[in-house]
């Protein structure tokens, strides 16, 4: 059991020393916006589809969305580099403290931002407070007619109405890989597994791995100079690095 003194975590210290554990690097220059990651995420994580009306009203359940804007006017118009947005697994997440039910908490073991569906009572404060607006709420019990439920991933909770959800960095895959490595008496090897979005991405624009391991692919990529973390100025310590490129 943790002792009292172990638990006295100084706020300042935490902010300074936070390194994160799992992280992502996204190269916007090669992201083609093809939506393969979106589909892969939906299939892996049992996302509900919400239909035309709700999806057009900001209620789609995508855990990852690809943003694109426009620059300039025709004919000098350009599409800005596609920007996949998902939960940034902040080291100091603004969504966490505001939940009255501890339904979204910081995982000590994975340094991830956990969403505990069965604790969620649906105040939606976390989603309000997420500067990245990457949380999706189950506004209804969205229908999945038979036999579509056959496809549901048994490793992932199926959420019902009234519950908040968001990208988990495919935590079920992390656990599978960790357990496998443990049973073989070794550490998880970089690249041994990856998230559904990164696995699908035809352009390899998404790289996932340990940011606390300087040898890992993500760390190597993140060392390149022009990476940015979104809304870093808010002190959220996000774990996703973006390369705009171009």
């Amino acid at each position: 059991m943790a002792t009292l003194s172990d638990l006295k975590i100084s706020e300042v210290k935490l902010g300074e020393e936070h390194t994160g554990k799992w992280g992502m690097v996204i190269d916007q220059d090669i992201c083609t916006g093809c939506q393969a990651c979106v589909a892969a995420c939906a299939m892996e994580n049992n996302l509900s589809f919400v239909g035309e009306e709700d999806s057009g009203y900001g209620r789609s359940m995508h855990w990852i969305r690809i943003e694109r804007f426009w620059e300039g006017e025709y004919p000098e118009v350009k599409m800005t580099p596609n920007q996949p947005m998902m939960c940034q697994q902040c080291g100091s997440a603004t969504c966490e403290p505001v939940c009255p039910a501890f339904a979204t908490v910081h995982s000590q073991a994975e340094q991830l931002n956990l969403q505990v569906y069965n604790r969620c009572v649906g105040t939606r404060y976390c989603a309000n407070n997420c500067p990245y607006q990457v949380r999706s709420f189950n506004w209804r019990d969205y229908e999945r007619p038979e036999p579509l439920p056959n496809q549901l991933n048994p490793d992932v909770t199926v959420r019902r109405r009234g519950v908040m959800e968001k990208c988990t960095f495919c935590i079920q895959r992390i656990h599978k890989a960790q357990d496998k490595a443990k049973s073989e008496g070794r550490e998880v090897v970089d690249g041994e597994f990856t998230t559904a979005c990164a696995q699908a991405c035809p352009a390899n624009a998404i790289t996932f791995g340990r940011v606390d391991d300087p040898e890992s692919m993500v760390s190597q990529l993140a060392k390149r100079s022009h990476g940015v973390k979104h809304l870093e100025e808010l002190g959220t310590l996000p774990n996703v690095t973006y390369f705009k490129g171009g």
Binding site: K8, S92, A93, E96, Q108
Partner: protein, 177 residues
């Protein structure tokens, strides 16, 4: 029972005659403890020249405040250690500073106000639906004096009260209100 007592209930139309009557009763030897005033408005002891009433309500309130503070302390400082594993949110300290103030304040106030309310009940023996000595006229603004005296003195006290302007003086019967 040689010293059998009787309760007389005298109804006065106003504050002044009631105060005079109390003074008079005291002069004829009726002790303050043997008198009680029933009124429709909160006439103070000073107005009637009566000794101060003792009340426990402030003390009970204080006690409740301490209890409430204790509950707040438990909630703010103890419950985080009751989880099966330490739950961390954001980079906030495990026991956050300012929010504990909020919790302590709210629960202290809640404890204090709840106990104040309960204090009224305790001190006044509320709720009490047994028969009691009462005249409904007091709620019309009359002031009633409830005098406890011996049978021997009954006549004397009745006369004195009548003389001092009592509208009516009757032996008080406990009745359902």
């Amino acid at each position: 029972m040689t010293e059998s007592k009787v309760d007389l209930l005298a109804v006065f139309p106003d504050l002044e005659p009631a105060a005079n009557a109390i003074e008079h009763l005291r002069s004829i030897g009726v002790h303050d403890e043997c008198m009680n005033i029933i009124s429709g408005i909160p006439v103070t002891e000073a107005m009637l020249g009566r000794p101060s009433q003792w009340t426990n309500v402030p003390r009970i309130a204080m006690g409740g405040a301490i209890l409430g503070f204790g509950a707040g302390f438990f909630l703010a400082f103890i419950t985080p250690y009751l989880y099966p594993y330490p739950i961390k949110v954001s980079s906030q300290a495990f026991i956050p500073g300012p929010p504990t103030v909020v919790v302590l304040f709210e629960l202290t106030m809640l404890g204090m106000l709840l106990s104040t309310f309960l204090g009224v009940f305790l001190d006044s023996f509320f709720p009490n639906y047994r028969p009691m000595k009462y005249v409904p006229e007091v709620s019309d603004g009359k002031i009633a004096i409830l005098v406890e005296c011996s049978h021997v003195e009954e006549k004397k006290v009745t006369d004195a009260l009548k003389k001092m302007g009592a509208e009516s003086v009757n032996p008080a019967e406990a009745q359902h209100l």
